[in-house]
Symmetry: C2
Subunit: 107 residues, 2 copies
DNA sequence: TCCTTATATCGTAATTTTACGATATAACAA
DNA sequence: TTGTTATATCGTAAAATTACGATATAAGGA
């Protein structure tokens, strides 16, 4: 019944995630979180040549895309991948474009 | 401003694809090509409110990301998804972030 | 040949993104 | 309270993206 609206929302959410991942700095943050499971913000800042405010801005984009979660721990924040968001993204990409490109690699 | 150089080649290619897909116009072009198998450029132009030159620019981005192919047919060009590129993207996303968020939503 | 059609590229505004320093906030210690 | 630490947000330049109209190119047809 409510399929149309949710489809629209699905595409919006997917586009937002893809756009967030399309930036190389944010992409590297995602890989760092995948490797380390969790990171404090200052660790992420130290791993880049960027200003703290810039990294914080990128983290906000990733948060709003549903790709990472930040948990406040005292004065600091501990970030990790958002398992639900990442799995949802992988499922979407997997089921995307079903009419093509699903067979074996032809030369 | 940005440090794309530090990314590995595979990651660069993946980032380029994700960036290309992060634009809603290009995302819709991809979906149109998935639905119709092939499209002439003018059909894609007609499906949007944008100028022909703008659509041509978006197609160039998709081409350079390896997501679509354009084949010249007389004075026109016939576009289709690039099966190799799309499958590569799906495989990359599938194998990405292997330490988390993989498999079915188990308890 | 010239003319039409379809597309790509050029030049350039308008918009968006990115990055920075400065400042605000929030938790905790002395 | 004051001071420190860690992070977020604000204000604003610089850079990149997006979009347009104009023009170039390339294939056929008259």
């Amino acid at each position: 019944m409510q399929k149309e609206k949710s489809l629209e929302t699905t595409e919006l959410r997917l586009a937002k995630m893809l756009k967030a991942l399309g930036n190389p700095v944010r992409f590297e943050i995602m890989e760092m979180l995948a490797n380390r499971q969790t990171c404090m913000t200052y660790e992420i800042v130290q791993s880049t040549p960027l200003a703290q405010s810039t990294v914080s801005q990128h983290l906000k984009v990733l948060r709003e895309a549903g790709l990472v979660r930040g948990e406040v721990e005292g004065p600091a924040t501990c970030y990790c991948l958002d398992p639900d968001g990442v799995r949802w993204l992988k499922d979407q990409i997997e089921g995307w474009l079903p009419d093509c490109c699903s067979g074996s690699p032809d030369a």
